[in-house]
Amino acid sequence: MTRQKVTDLYFMEARAKLVDLAAFLDRVDRAEGQDDFRIKAFRRALLELQKPESQRAKGVLKALSDPTIKPIDRATTKAAAGAWPDAV
């Protein structure tokens, strides 16, 4: 596909998501309290978007991932949080 075709197909959707992202961060900043580990990881992951190589999705996912390699002793929850708590 040409860059023009990709833009025609996805620009409006991506624009809407970009504005939503900006509004989300504004909402967080207006709210009382401190960033938790998820917002801190989120802000770090945003830096991946500015990198020149076309591996941004992979970079964002890795920035939000547990980088360790050993199994944990025991699962204390079934849920995932979306970011690795120990990164802070």
Binding site: L9, K58, K62, L64, S65, D66, P71, D73, A79, A80
Partner: protein
């Protein structure tokens, strides 16, 4: 359009979903055993669930002319109870010869704990001893990368496992290469909020090719879309993939993998 839904939890879906899927061109549906949304209290609960997957649900699907296949296991979310997990693993062999059972799945990891890994390896051993296909769930969100590495390392250390008979599901951009380069099949799960969107799935098809890759909806009791596969097929068409390439991705590829079971047959 014709397609196979290789991963759907139909016990959680309505008859309207069956109707919509068949109308959209679904030719067969495959249902891995799953967590109920709560922990089952005994092995008897699993006995009933396996009966549901191998007796009741195929009859329900047949009302819409849809072949239904199943995979059996205890989900990694219930792996911390080692006694229960062993009881369920001991229960599975009596169901393996049922006509719609394709193999062991969806096994895998959830929070990447030692007990989960132990139960995963017991399932792999069961599949190896009975020469069954394996369908693997990789963890959610921040746990996926580590869990996928642990799963791939574990499988590679077991000389009985042929990677071409294992599908590692729910890959994303940071795990797909790891799975494909090790020779396994990779599944892309199309979810609206987590895992992978249709657009990102088509990105991965364009980056890594169609070989040993499939797409599924993994529709269940949570936020999920039973028609996610045909919608992703439309996305492929919008991006100039030929009709034959779409067919290979959503119909021929699943058949290629699933036919290895010897039980996967389509109507007519």
């Amino acid at each position: 359009m014709r397609y196979i839904e290789p991963h759907a939890h139909m016990v959680s879906r309505t008859t309207d979903d069956y109707l919509a899927m068949v109308t959209a061109g679904c030719q067969a549906v495959c249902e891995p055993a799953f967590w109920a949304g709560f922990d089952r209290s005994s092995v008897d609960g699993f006995y009933d669930y396996f009966c549901q997957l191998t007796e009741h649900e195929p009859r329900r699907a047949a009302k819409f002319g849809l072949p239904h296949f199943a995979w059996l296991c205890i989900n990694p979310k219930e792996a911390e109870d080692l006694k229960l997990a062993q009881e369920v693993i001991d229960l599975i062999p009596q169901f393996l010869d049922r006509p719609n059972v394709l193999g062991i799945g969806e096994i895998g990891l959830n929070k990447n704990s030692r007990n989960e890994l132990s139960v995963f390896e017991k399932h792999v051993d069961l599949a190896a001893r009975h020469e069954k296909l394996i369908l693997i769930h990789t963890p959610h969100l921040e746990d996926k990368l580590k869990g996928t590495k642990l799963i791939v390392d574990s499988l590679k250390s077991d000389g009985r496992i042929n990677p071409g008979r294992v599908i590692i599901d729910h890959v994303e951009e940071h795990t797909v290469e790891l799975v494909l380069e090790a020779g396994f099949w990779a599944g892309m799960t199309l979810y609206p909020e987590s895992k992978c969107t249709g657009a990102r799935a088509v990105d991965m098809i364009e980056l890594y090719g169609k070989e040993r890759l499939w797409m599924n909806s993994a529709c269940d009791w949570g936020v999920s879309v039973p028609l996610a596969v045909p919608r992703a097929a439309l996305e492929m068409r919008q991006r100039n993939h030929a009709a034959g390439e779409v067919d290979e991705m959503i119909y021929q590829n699943p058949i290629r993998f699933l036919s290895q079971s010897g039980k996967f047959k389509l109507v007519g």
